[in-house]
Symmetry: C2
């Protein structure tokens, strides 16, 4: 699995290095148009902002005119959804003349920078008008002009592409460079209708490269994507220690890592219910009582690669290591919110968090949690500035992140820039249109993201970390193989038992749970449990493949579902089926 | 399923009616001996106490010398464990000469009242000495003397039988009359070693019949056992209303229903942590702020009959209706405990509850919950005196019961007589050695009850209530069948989705959740969700059997396990696998 991913990454890196883009200055009047509202906004501003932000430490400031343009644009342009949709379309269009003609990688790489003499020329003034279904949806990339009208309506979610309707996609793809693939570029070219006048071509030359200041990472982290950086360690290192070393802790970034100067760092706070707002600085946070919580953080997409074996899923192919356990230290959020006029027992509403990491439209990463969780002293939500006794490192949210124990990783917002107490959930893409789960029969044609609640507490799960699938395992003298792994349940539930079987469920062995912190009370057990089991190897099994299976039971006596088939969901989240490894025994 | 149970009950009733016991006065020096400690205690006292208690309203008083004798004796003697163990032994002993000889029901019914001239006579003075493994374990029943030494050590749990070691089991079996079965009596006779001297035979004639004052029940309740009364309604009535009518609400009694005079009712309270104690009366409880909670209560053994299909289980064969939803009104336990010197945020320890229902040794029903749950204002634990706006009826705990939302039914102690704040869990049988779950490979030879936590929060579950298995269903004109059921999750989790399939998981239909109370905040959703789904009937299915399957997903995104096979446990609890009904469609 890792080998496959590394290969993919290397191939991707190669593409990036060899891609030669023809770049021309960004004209001041270059615009992008929100096709949904028809509102025109200057890209020039974002460029300046992005440049300033990336270069000198943003210190928590955000331009006053930061607009409500959906953060989803960046995700769609940058991410896997578009790639997925495009791949799907390519499958359908695989017989198209263009696909056959432009099969050479070199050819397609240059296509959008090459004038096609058989097609007409357009000015940006003309393109701007094609910003919606009635007039048609056009975009430009390089010198290419593309009519994607027919692409957009077919796919729910692809309406987010409308953020670039009537304008250039270059600034978006400059950030999210994974579009430099043969598949994506081939599809784009299939929509080509013309050439952009040379003077109007949008350059990204002056755009700050938001990826230039990414932190160094430990090589043990195996990246699923580099930009944004998403990586997990090999599963075998997880079971080495109850507290995961900071450098080995999985990294899930949605956007470039912001550079934050702690001296100028500001945390904006607003209580929409009272109208109160204030800004605090890092030293102010240190004045609150210091609170330490040992908590496991798990990505909502952990184990997605296993779910993908049932049916393809858009999203990073996480193994079982998008999880880690650490001691987090900081100020209790309820203490901080009390100073904002929120009373204990205030249940109604939400606490929204915004990161200092932003997309090309200056929209920050965002998420929210129920106010009840935030204000519950037993909820143990903290604004953390230390991880395992060290200041947070940049990948984990320096200088301040939220730790929401028991809750899906994506709500544990890093590089915290703003806290808003509100009657509403965060309007962020990641709260509204991602990190939700659906019935296995819900697909991209039928999904209604409003119909499902945003994931908060995570379900019970376990994973076998050693041996790994495919390994050949030496049976111990006493006829057993030793298996190790982790188990965890969200919402403060404790793991009470892990059962393993190597004979398809005929007999179950109960694992020994390693010594672990017992939490601070019922419903406040936030840490995983590492476990060890000695599984008897069925007679006559030597030399043959052996499937070892684990399932955990938590203190609510919830347990894992048996297979991924019946919990498959189009986002590939909350994948908590039995863990299964197939090994050979000798 | 119901039909089967009714037949079993009728057969049982028949046995009771026709059983003719020879009864002789209980001598004042009759004793039972606790084999574990060797402590001798008079049965006479219990008889007086039981008699007084059952006759005239106990009013919460309990004799000062009430001993710590385990309540388990009553359960073992009265209940299914002994029956189970005995049945198992009979299987093994089925070739014994005695089993073959005594095959006639009439013969075995009279056996313990018949002197066997081939065997010696013993006096009670002699029998009393045989109260432990070293001297042998003897018991008497009628005129029979039995050496059960070889039976006891074989079976974990059967050490509870030791409560009657060296004495008569007649008073116990007088209460728990289900021992009057051919199987139990046959096994007992196989241990016969002699005859009890006529003057020493223990009579139960003067023992008050604790079952004589049981309340009247609605005939819709189908009993699994009559004494104690355990009954559930047909599943189809559950989906008729969000609030289950009081008379239709399942009844789970472990002991006879006590008669309580509200005028003399007293609730004893003790804080072992501070040494404080006091007694309050019913009007005192009414002075506390009135708090109403809508909560589902579910028996830990709900759906056990489905789990039994995998492998036999001792315990009542509950269908899917050992559950109901009601509005409960009373005083908040945290308010009452605050007056006992317990501070909010006090997390360490437990709150023990004792009922006014007692076994033949005067040991009350008991259970405990974590103090953290009791003191959490968001835990919504109440001392309820109203159910759906009516005073509690006798079967549901008149005058006061505990309601612990989200938690297994057995902790919702009825006829509340005593509350103890303690560092320890309740030592009651039902807390320590029942209502726990184990690995499917754990059997009665290997179980260690200390190794598992007492069930508190219940896992997510759902059940199809209509149609019932075996029904023939008319497909609606549009090609669908309508399916209705309930879904619930413990611990305050909300049901977010119910998926159904009628084609083995190829396609899933999402049910419509009926309008229901939304709870009072995240993690405080205590009610079930009733749901309706229209399932497309696969083509060519008419006339053929159709399996309809439901699974629920809760707000922690936990879901049900697929089958009972891998969650089977020797107590048959927390049976929350997919609900499956097999119907014929026409």
């Amino acid at each position: 699995m890792f080998a496959r991913r590394i290969l993919a990454t290397n191939r991707h890196r190669l593409l990036l290095q060899s891609a030669s883009c023809r770049v021309i200055s960004l004209t001041d009047n270059a615009t992008s148009i929100d096709g949904g509202t028809g509102q025109t906004r200057s890209l020039h501003h974002e460029r300046q902002h992005q440049s300033g932000g990336g270069g000198g430490g943003r210190g928590g400031s955000r331009p006053a005119d930061s607009t409500p343009l959906s953060a989803t644009a960046a995700v769609i342009f940058g991410g896997s959804l578009l790639t997925y949709l495009i791949t799907e379309k390519i499958k359908k269009d695989s017989n198209s003349v263009y696909a056959k003609e432009a099969s050479s990688l070199e050819q397609i790489r240059k296509a959008h920078d090459t004038v096609r003499k058989d097609l007409p020329e357009y000015t940006m003034d003309e393109i701007v008008k094609h910003n919606g279904p009635s007039a048609g949806i056009w975009v430009t990339y390089g010198v290419g002009v593309y009519d994607i009208t027919s692409f957009v309506p077919k796919h729910p979610g692809s309406d987010k592409v409308m953020l670039a309707a009537g304008g250039a996609i270059d600034p978006f793809w400059h950030i999210f460079q994974q579009h430099n693939t043969k598949e994506v570029l081939t599809l784009l070219e299939s929509y080509r209708i013309g050439n952009l006048r040379a003077d109007d071509v949008v350059s990204t030359k002056d755009l700050h490269d938001p990826w230039s200041a990414e932190p160094k990472r430990h090589p043990i982290l195996k990246p699923a994507t580099l930009k944004p950086f998403n990586a997990e360690p090999p599963a075998s290192v997880l079971v080495d220690s109850f507290l995961t070393p900071n450098e080995f802790f999985y990294v899930r970034n949605h956007l470039p890592v912001p550079e934050v100067d702690i001296k100028s760092y500001e945390l904006e706070m607003e209580n929409e219910k009272t109208g109160r707002s204030k800004t605090i600085r890092f030293p102010d946070l240190l004045k609150y009582p210091k609170h330490t919580v040992t908590a496991t953080i798990m990505c909502g997409g952990n184990r997605r690669s296993e779910m993908m074996e049932v049916k393809p899923i858009k999203g990073l192919p996480w193994g079982a290591s998008a999880v880690g356990n650490a001691q987090w230290t900081g100020a209790r959020l309820c203490d901080v919110l009390r100073d904002m006029g929120v009373r204990e027992g205030d249940e109604e509403g939400h606490v929204q968090f915004e990161g200092l990491d932003t997309d090309p439209t200056s929209t920050p990463y965002g998420a929210s949690i129920p106010l009840a969780k935030a204000m519950d002293p037993r909820g143990d939500v903290i604004l953390a500035y230390e991880m395992n006794g060290q200041p947070l490192n940049r990948d984990h949210g320096f200088p301040v992140r939220v730790i929401v124990p028991g809750v899906v990783g994506s709500r544990n917002v890093k590089w915290l820039g703003r806290i808003v107490v509100s009657r509403e959930e965060s309007s962020s893409h990641w709260q509204q249109n991602d990190y939700k789960s659906f019935s296995p029969s819900t697909d991209w044609d039928t999904v209604d993201f409003k119909s499902a609640p945003a994931i908060q507490n995570m379900p019970v799960t376990s994973a076998i970390c050693t041996p790994a699938s495919g390994e050949t395992v030496q049976v111990e003298k006493d006829g057993y193989v030793t298996v190790r792994g982790y188990a965890w349940s969200g919402g403060g539930s404790e793991i009470v038992r892990v059962d393993l079987t190597a004979d398809g469920g005929k007999t179950w062995t109960v694992a020994t749970l390693d010594e672990s912190e017992k939490g601070t009370g019922p419903g406040r057990h936030w840490s995983w449990s590492l476990w060890t089991a000695k599984i008897p190897v069925p007679k006559g099994q030597r030399g043959a493949p052996l499937e070892i299976v684990s399932k955990a039971v938590d203190s609510n006596y919830n347990t894992q579902p048996e297979s991924f088939a019946n919990i498959w969901n189009l986002r590939g989240v909350v994948g908590n089926a039995y863990s299964r490894v197939k090994v050979n025994v000798k």
